[in-house]
Symmetry: C2
Subunit: 97 residues, 2 copies
């Protein structure tokens, strides 16, 4: 499976809007084929830092997710609300034990 993490530092004046569109993105993404987990969190050390955690069945599912027009629109909109460029990391992952 693929694990995706996203770290986004949003501006204080844009937090409410960032949370709103992030939840829309999470809820929509969960309905897509191959989406196992999709969630968004606020860092306890800094509530302006949002942490996305996603699990996808395989590369194909993730590629299709990236190509969804609403995904692109979300990334564009979120980028306008941030204090620094978002950081996304992908991992090939296998559950242990």
């Amino acid at each position: 499976m693929i694990i995706v993490t996203g770290l986004v530092k949003v501006r204080a004046d844009a937090l409410d809007r960032a949370l709103e569109i992030s939840l829309e993105h999470v809820h929509r993404s969960r309905t897509e084929p191959g989406c196992l987990v999709h969630s968004v969190h606020q860092d306890v050390e800094d509530p302006l830092t949002l942490f996305f955690f996603e699990q996808w069945e395989d590369d194909g599912a993730l590629t299709a997710h990236f190509a969804v027009p609403e995904s692109l629109a979300f990334v564009t909109l979120l980028s306008e609300l941030t204090a620094a460029p978002p950081v996304m990391t992908l991992y090939e992952a296998t559950p242990k034990g």
Copy 2:
């Protein structure tokens, strides 16, 4: 590397204490050998759900972490503050791209 996730639903009356001891655990764990990432977050959909995300260099580092007396004490104390048993998941993970 090893990715560890932890999902913990805490009781509303215990949230402040749970956040306090979780941050202590995060900060202590970051100083341990082989700890690459250790963080704790609140789910935007449910702030009583805490999400831990950790990265460790290898099994040895994680095994040593589990054996630290303060780690065991943290798990025991946190378990007394939860509404349901915590769920921890381990992954063997390789960064992509």
